[in-house]
């Protein structure tokens, strides 16, 4: 428990320091560029058992990117993933139990971009808070958890109009929940996976 709290403390300290470092040189509005996107896409679990259960998870997101003139920036937003499936039969007679999975993720990433005309390539990494929920239908079974975890992202923006952009982004989440699962033969659940999202956005 102490270790966890310490890690969280370190993460928050690092975050504050990063913000200070970023905001320090910003003295005028021109020094900052803000882009907002609405995205949709798919998330794929790394664990094959989870993929078998839920397939690809439809994902919806709102993203806010903030870049300085030095091309360093912060990205934040909200991602929502949800999927439905049927519980897998591990032994005995098969039975149908619909199950639902939801995940909300709030990322805070440090990014760097390369800009060339109307094309931008950005990459970043940071922390995200994920809240996840799994519920069964027909029986009183549910699970709710949360985790601060690592996220990495790579995104490409293409300018369509003067303030309108098209985005494609690839995200990697690693979410070690610490919970053991019978589906993994008692192994620990990591909700890790790769997300591919595309969207449209604007520069503010």
């Amino acid at each position: 428990m102490d270790g966890r709290i310490r890690k969280m403390g370190l993460a928050i300290t690092a975050l504050v320091m990063g913000l200070w470092w970023l905001c320090g040189p910003v003295s005028s509005a021109e020094a900052v560029e803000v882009r907002t996107f609405f995205t949709v896409g798919l998330f794929n679990f790394r664990q094959p058992e989870f993929r078998e259960l839920y397939g690809g998870l439809p994902a919806f997101g709102v993203v806010v990117d903030l870049f300085t003139r030095s091309n360093l920036g912060l990205a934040t937003g909200i991602d929502y993933y949800q999927a439905r499936g049927e519980a897998l039969t591990l032994e005995g007679e098969p039975a149908v139990y619909p199950v639902k999975f939801h995940r909300w993720t709030f990322p805070l990433l440090l990014k760097y971009r390369l800009v060339s005309g109307g094309f931008q390539l950005a990459a970043g990494a940071g922390l995200a808070l994920s809240l996840y929920d799994e519920t069964w239908s027909g029986v009183e079974l549910s699970y709710h958890g949360r985790k601060i975890h690592f996220r990495a992202e790579m995104a490409t923006d293409v300018r369509l109009l003067s303030r309108l952009y098209l985005r494609a982004a690839l995200t990697w989440d690693s979410i070690p929940t610490g919970v053991s699962s019978l589906l993994l033969g008692g192994g620990r659940v990591n909700l890790a996976g790769l997300g591919l999202q595309a969207g449209i956005g604007t520069r503010i």
């Binding site: 499936g85 032994e91 139990y97 199950v99 069964w136 549910s142 699970y143 949360r146 699962s181």
Partner: protein, 567 residues
């Protein structure tokens, strides 16, 4: 200076070189394999049973506060590495005979020590070392003894049960009627008949004749008895076995037993053994007479052991040779001295070990109601000096019913242990209680009631998602003609504490129970109910290992708020 240092180095090296050279040229004896030792492991050490189970170390004998185990050096080191404490008793020699003996008086202990090597175990119990079983005959007759089992059993198999149990249906008219059939005259006559053999000391021909008498008695009841023959030293001994086969689940077996041999300080010629143990034997015969006239769901087996006084040899041989894996022994009721009472009301001590707690509790309730005699519940794993103990060694629930041990029978193992010293009010009550216990556990079939559901079976299925899993128990049984429906019962402990899980009658002859609890093992039984709301006996009991993990039902406040907005 340098030369001195060089010399000193040589002086140090010299002994090593010498030792090395000697070891090359000397024919050293081969290394002896590590010997086995008997050790006493105190109970109530943290994670003791789990460690012993994991290390596959078996227990030779459970006592009240400790276990006797046989360990090699490696096993001993492994136990020590887990932080477990134990006391070395002696190096184990396969050529010796080991016995446990209870010496309650200082004079007895002095006598034991004068003839045997005796090692203190706990309480009044000692480990005796002898060269052969017959040497134990030198023990004074009033000292209880048993041979230490040669093989052990895994402690992980032991079922630890709660101390409180919930039972259904103790008051019953049929039981009253059955109890009323117990006859004090019959009991007296049987004790007299057995006493009239003069002695029933196991190595004598009289004891064989007594066995024949019991065999004939069972035959006269229409049963098909059999002998189990074995030798004590060079003497032929015989256990006598008979049974009433169950009509619904014949493989479920309830045993009632007693030893019919006797002893005294003139054992070769005179050992009437009226209380020890013609009383138990006659109570078993009387139970057989009454029970054999009634249909039962489960099988009742009547066993009268020989050579108990020689260290439980008859019952040891029975569990070694006659237990069948196709059978499920529900419980064992051992009657040993159930007719002496110094005053009334006398207690009937019901002695069990931890895993027999449910049986002790059930018997106490039944003998208290139908004896009526106060049944004193005693959990004492050290009381291994009668024929229930070999069943304990196999993890079978067994209870020894014995008259109040706090006031011992003054005629115990004497030539004066005769029928005129017995109290027939107490004896009849004890026999009634024993009979009803047997009828209850073997489930006497009630006339006019729905039949007990047959072929009760279950299968388990497991469904899983990322974070949750569900174990579904699929239960089914044969339809019962005339049944309006069925009740299904579930318990987290075996044999007791069953709770009905259906709110209304189950119409089908199958049911799926979704296990959402946190218990690892569940037990099930089903009954049939007719239109007059009369309920049958329980079916056989089935266990399922669900091995569930606790559910996480805590909702995060943040999640709740978000969910609200999202919806």
């Amino acid at each position: 200076m340098t030369r001195n240092r060089f010399r000193r180095r040589w002086l140090l090296l010299l002994p090593a070189i010498l030792f090395f050279s000697l070891s090359l040229f000397t024919d050293l004896p081969p290394v002896q394999p590590a010997g086995l030792r008997l050790v006493l492991v105190p109970k109530y050490q943290p994670r003791l049973e789990a460690i012993l189970g994991r290390e596959k170390i078996e227990c030779l004998q459970e006592l009240q506060d400790s276990y006797i185990m046989r360990l090699d050096r490696e096993e001993g080191l492994r136990l020590r590495s887990h932080g477990l404490k134990f006391r070395l008793l002696t190096v184990y020699d396969r050529g010796l005979v080991y016995a446990l003996a209870r010496a309650s008086r200082a004079a007895d202990l002095e006598l034991i020590r004068s003839r045997f090597r005796a090692i203190f175990l706990e309480g009044n119990d000692y480990l005796l070392l002898a060269r052969e079983p017959a040497e134990l005959e030198e023990l004074p007759v009033n000292i209880r003894r048993r041979l230490l089992p040669a093989s052990g059993h895994s402690l992980a198999e032991l079922t630890l049960l709660p101390e409180e149990f919930i039972w259904q249906r103790v008051q019953d008219q049929l039981y009253e009627q059955l109890a009323g059939e117990v006859s004090a005259d019959n009991l007296r006559q049987e004790v007299v008949n057995l006493q009239n053999f003069g002695t029933r000391y196991a190595p004598t021909g009289n004891c064989l004749q007594a066995g024949q008498y019991i065999y004939d008695h069972f035959s006269s009841l229409g049963l098909s008895p059999s002998y189990q023959e074995f030798y004590y030293s060079t003497y032929l001994c015989r256990n006598v076995i008979a049974q009433v086969t169950g009509q619904t689940y014949p493989e479920q077996v309830m045993i009632i037993c007693a030893h019919y041999d006797s002893t005294s300080d003139q054992r070769w010629t005179l050992a009437p053994g009226a209380d020890d143990n013609a009383s138990g034997t006659a109570a078993v015969l009387e139970a057989a007479r009454i029970i054999s006239g009634h249909p039962l769901d489960f099988t009742v087996r009547f066993i009268l052991f020989s050579a108990e006084e020689q260290g439980l040899i008859g019952s040891l041989r029975y569990v070694q040779e006659k237990l069948s894996p196709a059978e499920n022994i529900l419980g064992v009721l051992n009657l040993d001295m159930v007719a002496y009472a110094d005053y009334l009301p006398e207690d009937l001590d019901l002695i069990g070990n931890r895993s027999s707690g449910w049986l002790v509790d059930r018997l106490a309730a039944l003998v208290g109601t139908y004896g009526p005699v106060p049944g004193k519940k005693i959990i004492d794993a050290s009381f291994v000096y009668s024929d229930h103990a070999p069943f304990w060694d196999r993890g079978i629930a067994a209870v020894c019913a014995i008259e109040d041990a706090s006031v011992p029978n003054p005629y115990y193992h004497k030539t004066t242990d005769t029928v005129d010293t017995l109290n027939f009010d107490f004896y009849r009550a004890a026999a009634r209680g024993s009979l009803i216990s047997l009828a209850d556990l073997a489930q006497v079939i009630r006339p006019g009631y729905p039949a007990t559901p047959r072929n009760f079976n279950l299968s388990l299925s497991t469904q899983a998602s990322i974070f949750n899993h569900l174990k579904a128990v699929h239960l089914n049984w044969d339809p019962v003609p005339g049944a309006a429906g069925y009740n299904l019962y579930r318990s987290p402990v075996p044999h007791a504490n069953f709770q009905k899980i259906n709110s209304s009658l189950i119409q089908d002859n199958e049911y799926i129970d979704n296990l959402l609890g946190t218990e690892a093992v569940f037990y099930y039984a089903v009954t049939a109910v007719d239109s007059l709301n009369r309920e049958s006996n329980f079916s056989r009991e089935l266990a399922v290992n669900a091995g569930l993990t606790p559910l996480n039902s805590l909702r995060l406040l943040f999640w709740g708020i978000l969910n609200f907005f999202w919806n």
